[in-house]
């Protein structure tokens, strides 16, 4: 288990999530792919916290936790994002009877 291997795994996960986000037509599937991308980023942050020395590690050992703190923030933002995203999906379904992205054209002029 090396840092490079971990980074490559999370890069693969991020690419899979990106593909799903771009190529799916169902809004819920797109949101699920977004979650995969969030998780890939979290994995990168924690892997870097484990292997890479942050600035000022010599002065204060607590700096080794910086990556984990960032991951906590990412998880919080992802939770807020998904709660709102699914609310929007439900509102969209209520108005158009569909969750197909290609039919979400109400804002188009």
């Amino acid at each position: 288990m090396s840092l490079e291997a971990l980074l490559i795994v999370s890069a693969i996960l991020f690419a899979i999530g990106l593909y799903g986000t771009l190529a799916r037509s169902n809004v819920i599937a797109v949101l699920m792919s977004l979650e995969i991308m969030f998780n890939a980023v979290n994995l990168t942050l924690v892997a870097l916290a484990k292997f890479v020395a942050p600035q000022g590690l010599q002065d204060n050992l607590a700096n080794a936790l910086t990556g984990q703190v960032f991951a906590v923030f990412v998880i919080t933002v992802a939770a807020a994002e998904i709660a709102l995203g699914l609310g929007i999906v439900l509102a969209m379904y209520r108005n158009t009877e569909s969750v197909d992205l290609s039919q979400a054209t109400q804002l188009r002029n």
């Binding site: 899979i16 190529a23 169902n26 599937a29 919080t76 439900l90 379904y93």
Partner: protein, 202 residues
């Protein structure tokens, strides 16, 4: 090679295969409900990664928030929108999407392998491991003893090590983003209520 290293490698490979396989399933399976179950698999594999990388607190948070809350929200959304049969159809952007994500993957892999990472020096490894595995609580006296044996710990360093916890960081150096995130959560709560309210009611 130590026995511990071999176990770590095996666990790493198992988790990698599980996470990547489940993620591929999420974007390729047609049945949305199965996709959500696979997504929960990705989340659990990710929690395993966090344990492997000595981030136990994050692993617990991952299981509670992602597996416990977000997967359930997805299942609710799928059930409420009633088109599970129609499923996970691809759109017309298939080929550009594959091209773009492959390009991004190639770029990320090149960056990850060609960068010279400023790795943690071997001397500091024990201390960093202790700080990370003990991130939830204040370092116990036993842990401090181990730290002292690993390298001479000055009084000032000892004081710092005693305060090296996630909570201390969150309400210390990171207090501003912490407060910003709480405002964001409040806004998301109000926004979710406003969105979910049936139309026509004041």
């Amino acid at each position: 090679m130590l026995f511990q290293d071999i176990v770590q490698d095996v666990v790493f490979w198992v988790l990698s295969v599980a996470a990547i396989g489940a993620a591929l399933g999420v974007v390729l399976v047609r049945d949305l409900f199965r996709a959500v179950l696979l997504l929960a698999g990705v989340f659990i594999a990710m929690a395993g990664f966090f344990v492997l990388l000595s981030a136990e607190f994050l692993a617990v948070v991952q299981v509670l928030i992602y597996v416990g809350a977000i997967s359930i929200l997805f299942i609710f959304a799928i059930m409420l929108t009633r088109n599970v049969r129609q499923g996970n159809l691809p759109n017309r952007l298939q080929i550009p999407a594959v091209l773009f994500s492959t390009l991004l993957l190639a770029a990320l892999v090149v960056v990850a392998t060609s960068t010279e990472w400023n790795l943690i020096p071997d001397g500091a490894k024990t201390g960093v491991d202790l700080v990370q595995t003990q991130s939830v609580n204040v370092l116990s006296p036993e842990a401090l003893e181990v730290l002292e044996r690993a390298g001479a710990l000055s009084d000032e360093e000892r004081l710092q090590a005693e305060k090296a916890g996630l909570a201390d960081l969150l309400i210390g150096p990171f207090v501003l983003p912490f407060e910003a995130v709480s405002v964001l959560l409040l806004a998301a709560l109000i926004g979710g209520l406003a969105l979910a309210r049936p139309p026509g009611r004041a």
